[in-house]
């Protein structure tokens, strides 16, 4: 299992391995938005928490299909399914690898990009905290969506469509806590809800995802 995590990480760090794909996308979104909405800094300040969270979410969404598709195509998934580790653990490890290569860098990069969007000073801490709590849920939910669509040729569209509504609660709690934090309001409730969401998905979704993969492999 550690081997699997290590492999996934080193694969994604190799040339063109997708490490930084999420990060790059996050960067792209936050850079493009000011070009689109115009450079007025109070408008930007107003929408910064939302845009940052939406950017992080899109960055996750975008890199989801790599979780299983590549292993499916080259036959590794067949081999992993017959290997001595349970498929649930494989799913969990792959979600973890996805988080380490996507969610974690996003969280670390977010404060820098927040400067570009003129986020209020009070919001920075909450931004990092909420991303840290919320991105694992994004990875896990995404892994579930990826498992549902793994057999399909170019399931990318379907994957986004399936995962989008599942992401809504995470996004709302996440962005809300940053917005409240930036305005100096209490953030406990949304953060607690966010943490609960993450825990629940990490605890339950690997089973659903493993079941979906088994169906897709047969």
């Amino acid at each position: 299992m550690i081997a699997l995590l290590k492999r996934d990480l080193s694969l994604s760090i190799r040339a063109g391995g997708g490490f930084g794909l999420g990060l790059a996308f996050f960067l792209i979104v936050t850079i493009l938005v000011p070009f689109g909405v115009g450079p007025q800094s109070d408008t930007l300040r107003l929408i910064a928490p939302g845009i940052l969270w939406v950017g992080a979410l899109l960055a996750c969404l975008l890199s989801l299909d790599r979780i299983f598709a590549l292993d499916y195509e080259d036959g590794s998934l067949d081999l992993l399914a017959t290997a001595p580790i349970p498929l649930e653990a494989v799913v969990a490890m792959k979600a973890l690898a996805h988080w380490v290569t996507t969610g974690l860098p996003l969280t670390l990069a977010a404060p820098v990009l927040a400067v570009l969007l003129n986020l209020q000073g009070a919001g920075f801490g909450w931004l990092v905290l909420s991303l840290l709590l919320g991105t694992p849920a994004l990875s896990m939910i995404g892994a579930f969506g990826a498992a549902l669509t793994v057999g399909l040729k170019r399931g990318g569209l379907l994957l986004s469509l399936l995962v989008l509504p599942l992401y809504v609660p995470t996004l709302i709690f996440g962005a809300e806590s940053v917005r409240r934090g930036a305005q100096g309001m209490a953030t406990t409730t949304p953060l607690l809800l966010l943490a609960g969401l993450t825990l629940a998905s990490v605890a339950l979704l690997p089973f659903a995802a493993a079941a979906a993969i088994r169906v897709n492999l047969r």
Binding site: I2, A3, L4, R7, S10, L11, R14, A15, G16, G17, D71, E73, D74, G75, S76, D78, L79, L80, A81, T82, A83, P84, I85, L217, R218
Partner: protein, 204 residues
């Protein structure tokens, strides 16, 4: 260590392709699956490997005893030959990849990325993976595709050594592999179209 297959039917894409296949394989034996394209060799191997459920019939084998090598090799293009092997070795809890590298003449290529291998070299690497699984029953789907004569001989020797140490192998192939084994032609087991009399049987 024994693989017993009894009255097995299997389906591909929801369509039954083989029916009532039965055989028995004990330690030290190899079985060649033969039959024309599309008869269902791949399907049978996948069923035996536990990747898809059987429609009917029993497969009995010791738990976690089967190593499967498909048409696709499961190689990661950006990992080196040694890294690819090492990964599978870790997954299967064996730690030494030298016998595998040596057995398939990959020592010189060990540091090369898998994407820079020729077709035959890739295949050799795919086969070397079997040695690091440490599992007794090999299921091989056309293992010698793209291999030159020397490599086919290498493969023959690897299988022979595996059988000698109490392993077994089921090999789907169209060509002559140069070593003797019992062979099973799948043509007679082709699934007959089912009778569909009323809606009770609407769902194949």
């Amino acid at each position: 260590m024994e693989l017993v297959v009894n009255n097995l039917s299997c389906a591909r894409g929801g369509v039954p392709v083989l029916e009532r296949v039965g055989f028995r394989l004990t330690a030290g034996q190899a079985l060649m699956l033969r039959g024309p394209n599309g008869i269902g060799k791949t399907t049978l191997l996948r069923t035996l490997a536990g990747l898809q459920p059987a429609l009917e019939g029993q497969i009995s084998s010791p738990p976690e005893s089967i190593a499967y090598a498909a048409h696709a090799d499961g190689l990661k293009a950006t990992l080196s030959v040694a890294e690819n092997l090492l990964f599978w070795a870790r997954i299967f809890d064996t730690n030494d990849i030298t016998p595998a590298l040596e057995g398939f003449d990959l020592v010189d290529l060990a540091g090369r990325q898998a994407q820079n291998l020729s077709a035959g070299q890739k295949r050799r690497l795919g086969l070397a993976r079997l040695l690091v699984t440490g599992r007794p029953i090999w299921m091989l789907d056309e293992p010698t595709v793209s291999l030159d004569t020397a490599s086919v001989a290498l493969f023959g020797r690897a299988v022979a050594a595996h059988l000698k140490t109490g392993g077994a192998a089921v090999i789907a192939t169209h060509i002559d592999l140069g070593f003797s084994a019992q062979s099973l032609d799948l043509t007679p087991f082709r699934a007959a179209p089912q009778k569909l009399n009323d809606f009770d049987e609407a769902f194949l």
